[in-house]
Amino acid sequence: MNKYWFYVILAALFEIYWVAGLKHSESILEWGITIVAITATFFLLPVAAKYLPIGTVYAVFAGLGTAGTVIVEIVVYGEPFQFMKVFLISTLLIGVIGLKMVSNEPAKSERKEVT
């Protein structure tokens, strides 16, 4: 996998963490980690946006963040499991994988900054 896609996915993982952190942090340490996670997200996204279309970056970031948050709420915080949630997470992931497949990134040697 291209490393810029990896950065977007990593940013989404940090987002999933800090969305839960904003809601549930209690100690100063938990708030501290939440703030670090927010900073990490906004450090990774511009790096990814250097070579990937910003529309793609944000759709994947927001999509995976939403799906992950729903999963965390079910698994960690006991929100109800619904078939519709699983269905929508599946269609969302198909969208992300499809988008990855139709994105033709230039090879490393011929990569140039998209302006």
Partner: protein, 103 residues
Amino acid sequence: MAWLAVLVAGVFEVIGVMNIKRLAMKKWDALVILIVTFGSSLALLSYAMQTLPMGTVYGVWTGIGTAGSTIMGMMLYGEPRDWKRLLFISMILASAVGLRLIT
């Protein structure tokens, strides 16, 4: 007023996302705009959530942000417009908005 706040929050979000792109192009003033726009956007969201359901507010906000960023990316930066790309982005968009609405 709450709905207006959601719409303006969506516009600020799209401006913020475009500044992620500008930051990627090493335009450092984008960092300030990014913090101000996302900060204002989140403040407007929490204001709207005082009267509107949280899932609905998040759903509309996510939708405006994703669709707006895709469209502005095509207009300002000539990002690809092929139908397969738009189809998959629409799938992500519809699924994410759906998830926000039912949770």
